[in-house]
């Protein structure tokens, strides 16, 4: 609920979290479409004992979340390792 605050723009962390979640979601969705065009989830479920009774819908959903967790993890790691240390502002106002 932003309506009671007088600022609305997101902080850096919010921006990063939102970008991470959304972009990884889109990529996972695209991966699912391509993957399931070639593979019938029923065939995967048949090979997993615990899931052999599960429906195709379960297969679609589990694979999608598997992809999403992978894309999100890789995006998160990329953000972590490219993070720069916040530098103290350079002293200004001194002329050499």
């Amino acid at each position: 609920m932003n309506s009671d605050k007088d600022t609305h723009d997101w902080s850096r962390d919010q921006q990063k979290t939102a970008a991470l979640a959304w972009v990884s979601f889109l990529v996972a969705a695209a991966m699912s479409v391509v993957f399931f065009a070639a593979v019938d989830p029923a065939l995967i479920l048949d090979n997993v004992d615990a899931l052999s009774e599960a429906s195709r819908e379960t297969g679609y959903a589990l694979c999608f979340f598997f992809f999403w967790s992978g894309t999100a993890l890789s995006a998160w790691l990329s953000l972590r390792i490219t993070r720069r240390k916040r530098q103290a502002p350079r002293p200004v106002g001194r002329t050499s």
Partner: protein, 461 residues
């Protein structure tokens, strides 16, 4: 010096006021509303339409069949769907190169649903100034009922959106019946709520933040831009120096440009930018500022178009080139893919066969009768008439089917045919590649070969 430090820190942590977009009226606002009604109309209507007694548009994921107005697509046809999606992406590039972010301003689901949710908000809470006043006011009965009604309408709209979305993937009328009886299957309910929640979050709260911080297209669309791309721009030469003035005042005597500095262009902007500061990546090219400015120009009896669609070249007084290498290349690629799709569809055989080897048993030793392997043939007859097919197999000397080789497959359906294949002991050891042939009896040219493996006992020497 203090100036320098303050701008440096503002660059990273600039906090902006919440954006209350004012409603714009004019040519482009009308176009935008028409686009919204058309696009949302299609989205909300299609799942409930029937075509020849079947849901008109149904991406039946549980059955792995797509129905689009009488056309049935099988998983094997996904190539066409993929090619169509690629074509759509390049068409997006093409349009962006020519006309800028038309997609963002008029057709993106984020824009369209934000427009719908803002419309509901305006209906309940009033126009921009009323909404700002209501948000600042302390809680009262008036504020409470308006906020509750808005939330109720928003949530209802979001839930209906979720139901329609899932209705594209599972038969919609049966789904509506299930919902009425509180009997919705687990995953169906989950995806319904998931999409509802995403719609509510994106369109009611995140709005322009999605375009600014989350959308990948917003970031790479500039790669499609050049000096001849249509952009929304403020005519600085005509507008500056800006300043307030009385109607009919002698502008030249006051040394003022055409901009009356009414800030209407800023107030209507859904992303809260000032177009007079030049082209910014936040601009989704919705043209609300053009409408707002034209209205003011009309009131002042100035010519329209202080803010207008133009190109960088035109603004610099040079000629705009509509046909240019970038545009030609995009057009050629689109034409090539479309031709490939058409050719491939025209030469497509309406028969698809998949061979699945029975994985539970490697082989069956029948002693003197040889070695047997079992397979399931998925025969898909994509044609509109029922057909009889003849199955045969070769690849090993003496290989033979042990089941009836003729099958009938109904029009537009898949038949799973279990078959057993037998090979004499002498030829059976190890692994062999074999080939099944499926041929239509009424049309010998309708013939598909499909390879598989035959396994026998390993020879132990």
């Amino acid at each position: 010096m203090t100036n320098f430090t303050s701008t440096a820190s503002e660059g990273l942590y600039k906090s902006e006021a919440r954006i209350y977009p004012r409603e714009a009226k004019g040519r482009f606002a009308t176009l935008r509303k028409l686009a919204m009604v058309w696009l949302l109309g299609m989205f909300y209507l299609f799942p409930w339409l029937n075509w020849n007694g079947q849901q008109a548009v149904l991406f039946d994921l549980p059955a792995r069949k797509f129905h689009i107005f009488g056309l049935t697509l099988w998983p094997q046809d996904f190539l066409y769907l993929a090619l169509l999606l690629i074509t759509a992406a390049i068409v997006l590039f093409f349009v962006t190169a020519l006309a800028g972010r038309l997609w963002c301003g008029f057709a993106c689901p984020q824009t369209v649903w934000t427009e719908a949710f803002t419309w509901v908000e305006q209906l309940v809470e009033g126009d921009r100034s009323k909404r700002m006043k209501l948000d600042k006011a302390p809680w009262s009965l008036n504020k409470l009922w308006r906020k509750s009604l808005k939330q109720f309408l928003w949530i209802t709209l979001a839930l209906f959106t979720g139901v329609c979305f899932v209705g594209y993937f599972t038969p919609a009328r049966a789904l509506a019946n299930d919902i009425a009886h509180f009997n919705v299957a687990g995953w169906t309910a989950f995806w319904m709520l998931f999409y509802s929640f995403a719609t509510y979050g994106n369109a009611a709260y995140m709005r322009e933040q999605v375009c600014k911080y989350m959308c990948p297209y917003a970031r790479f669309q500039s790669a499609m831009f050049d000096e001849d791309t249509l952009i929304i721009t403020y005519d600085e030469a005509r507008g500056e120096p800006r300043g307030r003035r009385k109607r009919g005042a002698d502008v030249t005597a006051q040394g003022l440009g055409a901009c009356v500095d009414c800030t209407m262009c800023v107030q209507v902007c859904p992303t809260g930018i000032d177009i007079r500061e030049g082209l910014q990546y936040e601009c989704i090219a919705c043209a609300a500022c053009i409408d707002a400015c034209d209205t003011v120009m009309d009131k002042m009896a100035y010519p329209r178009g202080l803010i207008r669609y133009s190109t960088e070249n035109a603004m610099a007084g040079q000629q705009t080139h509509v046909v240019r290498p970038r545009v030609i290349i995009y057009a050629l690629v689109i034409a090539a893919i479309l031709m490939a799709i058409v050719t491939s569809l025209a030469t497509r055989q309406p028969l698809i066969v998949d061979v699945l080897r029975d994985r539970n048993a490697l082989y069956r030793d029948l002693g003197r009768n040889g070695i047997e392997n079992t397979y399931t043939l998925h025969i898909i007859n994509q044609d509109s008439i029922d057909r009889d097919f003849e199955i045969s197999v070769d690849g090993i000397p003496g290989i033979a089917l042990t089941v009836d080789s003729r099958v009938r497959v109904a029009a537009g359906s898949l038949r799973k045919v279990p078959v057993a294949v037998r090979v004499q002991q002498a030829q059976a050891s190890g692994g062999h590649t074999i080939s099944f042939s499926i041929q239509a009896l009424d049309d010998p040219t309708l013939l598909v070969h499909e390879k598989s493996r035959f396994r026998g006992p390993l020879e132990l020497n």
